[in-house]
Assembly symmetry: C2
Homo-oligomer: 418 residues x 2
């Protein structure tokens, strides 16, 4: 016998969970399409060289990589931004000049599972390729915000910054490139380790205590760039996004391909960090095309969104019910034909219905069938005994109220369709 088990960091999604995931995916898709994003799918496996060297050293380590049967070095999707960049380069002539795409597929990272992280998880991305207008930055941020609204999140903050806030300090000579490289890494941890922690880390890396404080202060006191000003202005025109944005000069973001605007979204009342992060990356696609193509976008952390929705009770209650709205029971071999007809007619009317497929006991035939419906949380049960069969009616039992009443098929429909 083979032990039935899943790999560490990998998950099965049984129906209850799968339905919640589908609910969120459907909402996200609808909003993405409202903003004019089109779907894209890329393969799970890529040539290794497509993916390596794009995510920093840690990325290369955590990537699932192997040699396939044909001796090719291959790697499993690690994010959706690098595959998008490859696609843009590969199909340049087929894609519109401004390419807006969304992508909702799993990615794999061999993370330390003790930190509560998964090795297979879903990413939900929306990106605009081919526009360097700040309006594009604003549009992706508005898309993310609108998606959160559609899921029921009313209270969230969009933290914004611009990678050029850092490079400006280097360009004007206030901070050396080396100091800035160290500072960006340290400042990225500000929320976890606090101001003192950031200073300590910089001191550990060789800066004097005074200099570390100075560099941190310089960063903290940087002002909005013009681009950020433009984006904020646009977002303020969206009534529901008013006062949701906050400039945070200490926002750094981990990935090193960002070149301009960066942002993260935090949910108020669920302080687990950001549920969404993104920004502008104007140099990544150039690694595949040889010419720079600007791009901006974001990814939702799907698992965190689900956690937050669970915590804030944002899932519709009826998601907990069975997919089937009604179980049609079988009373005896004689009435079976009527039961089959009813289930078929209900389906014809697009009512999710199932027929009982277990063994029918002669004594107390309904007992087990009602138990099955209760176990699966099917809201209604239809009973067709010899009397009902003869009169061409059915008994409908509401399993919540335990009430039951007889109806003709035509009377039944509006109740089950509601």
């Amino acid at each position: 016998m083979i032990k039935p088990q899943t790999l560490k960091g990998f998950r099965d999604f049984l129906p209850q969970e799968a339905k919640k995931r589908q609910y969120v995916i459907d909402k996200l898709k609808t909003v993405f399409e409202t903003f004019g994003f089109e779907p894209l799918e890329t393969p799970v496996l890529e040539y290794e060289e497509i993916l390596t060297g794009k995510y920093g050293e840690e990325g290369d380590q955590l990537m699932y990589r192997f040699e396939d049967n044909g001796k090719r070095r291959v790697a499993m999707r690690y994010d959706q931004t690098v595959p998008l960049s490859r696609v843009v380069a590969q199909y340049q002539n087929e894609l519109p000049t401004i390419f807006k795409r969304y992508q909702i597929q799993p990615v794999w990272r061999a993370e330390n599972t003790q930190k509560g992280r998964y090795r297979e998880f879903l990413q939900c991305d929306a990106d605009i390729v081919g526009s360097s207008s700040p309006l594009a930055d604003a549009e992706v941020i508005a898309t993310a915000a609108k998606a959160l609204k559609a899921l029921g999140f009313n209270d969230f903050t969009i933290l914004m910054n611009d990678r050029r806030v850092f490079s400006e300090l280097v360009n004007n000579g206030s901070v050396s490139q080396n100091e800035m490289d160290l500072a960006v890494v340290a400042v990225d941890k500000l929320k976890k380790i606090g101001e003192e922690g950031v200073i300590n880390e910089l001191v550990k890396k060789g800066l004097s205590s005074d200099r570390a404080k100075k560099v941190f202060d310089l960063i903290r006191n940087q002002e909005k760039t013009d681009t950020m000003q433009d984006i904020t202005l646009y977002l303020e025109t969206q009534p529901e996004l008013k006062a949701k944005t906050k400039f945070d000069p200490t926002l750094a973001r981990g990935l090193n391909y960002y070149t301009g605007t960066i942002f993260e979204i935090e949910i108020e009342g669920y302080p687990i960090g950001s549920v969404c992060g993104g920004g502008r990356y104007d140099s990544l696609i150039g690694m595949f095309t040889g010419r720079q193509i600007p791009a901006v976008g974001f990814a939702f952390g799907f698992d965190r969104i689900l956690e937050a929705m669970e915590a804030l009770n944002l899932f519709p209650k009826d998601l907990a019910n069975s997919v089937s709205k009604v179980l049609v029971t079988i009373f005896t071999e004689k009435t079976k034909q009527q039961s089959l007809e009813i289930v078929s007619r209900l389906r014809e009317k697009n009512i999710n219905a199932e027929i009982y497929l277990g063994e029918i006991k002669e004594k107390n035939p309904l007992e087990k069938q009602l138990k099955y419906a209760d176990q699966k949380q099917i809201p209604y049960v239809i009973i067709i005994g010899p009397e009902e069969a003869e009169k061409k009616i059915v008994t409908l039992k509401n399993l919540q109220t335990r009430e039951q009443k007889t109806y003709t098929f035509e009377e039944l429909l509006p109740i089950l369709q509601s």
Copy 2:
């Protein structure tokens, strides 16, 4: 520069194709849920021992297998029936006594791509676990047929057989087990190689010519089992499935885990083989649980369904359009604000709308924007020039008819919502 390319047998799905795939998936899901099937998702990677030895020798060879960073032997999903069997064993106490699940996820097989086969492809399965009633066999067949109807296929044939048709001939002594093993493999190729081909193959394997003909005749003249009779009767009660079933004693099916009913569905007018195959497998789950749990189900060959739909012209025409129903253009910096407001109000009304994100030229600002809309097949364009901005109206241009007319926002809605 890194060459942007995909692995042989792996595909990107650009928006046009991705939309068609999504259309089919949505239709299948709706039908599966009408029949009371619930969604399930399993991981891409499994412990190798979960998958190996279940698909025959060829399966083990074509499977993507490797050692992960933690020195575990892992394998990529090869079908969805074995993972389902693992799930049923692993969560026995959480699942309903009769578990009806559907699963729509990709699988990987390192096939010879010269035969037009893909190495990553989608499978769409629906299975009923825990019922040995012939009604369950009939229900899965009806589900498959209903799904094809929903996709627009009106003319198809359900070929049915029962694995016990073969075992009966062994049990009653007419054919030896060895002869039958060879015959099943040979008969499985009947459609490709013809009757003579089957006889030749059996002769090659050591049977005399007379004996080969005799064995083939015995198989061909077998009669329906009682179960098959029951299933056919049930299917005949579904008006739309009347006369769609055909008993075919030479139907064999490749996979060796089938134990009872087997079936395939062929599309009339698209003779490329079956688009759907399935059957009863009452021993597979026992490999993980130690006790037998009956199961019956099927998988759609997603790529073949798409090909057939393309050939028979079954996709709705508007799938070829852009996701965006309308492009809101920007005329000048001065009217930009009005354009932003309009796009935001359209989205508020759930109309898929995008704003032009390219550079706005001072001379002839609309030329490039209209070209972009044409390229993306966006059906409508909204123009807000200085005059429109002042009068609080918009010009709507239909890109198919090239007609344009001015409207108030309220007048615009019904046109774009239709």
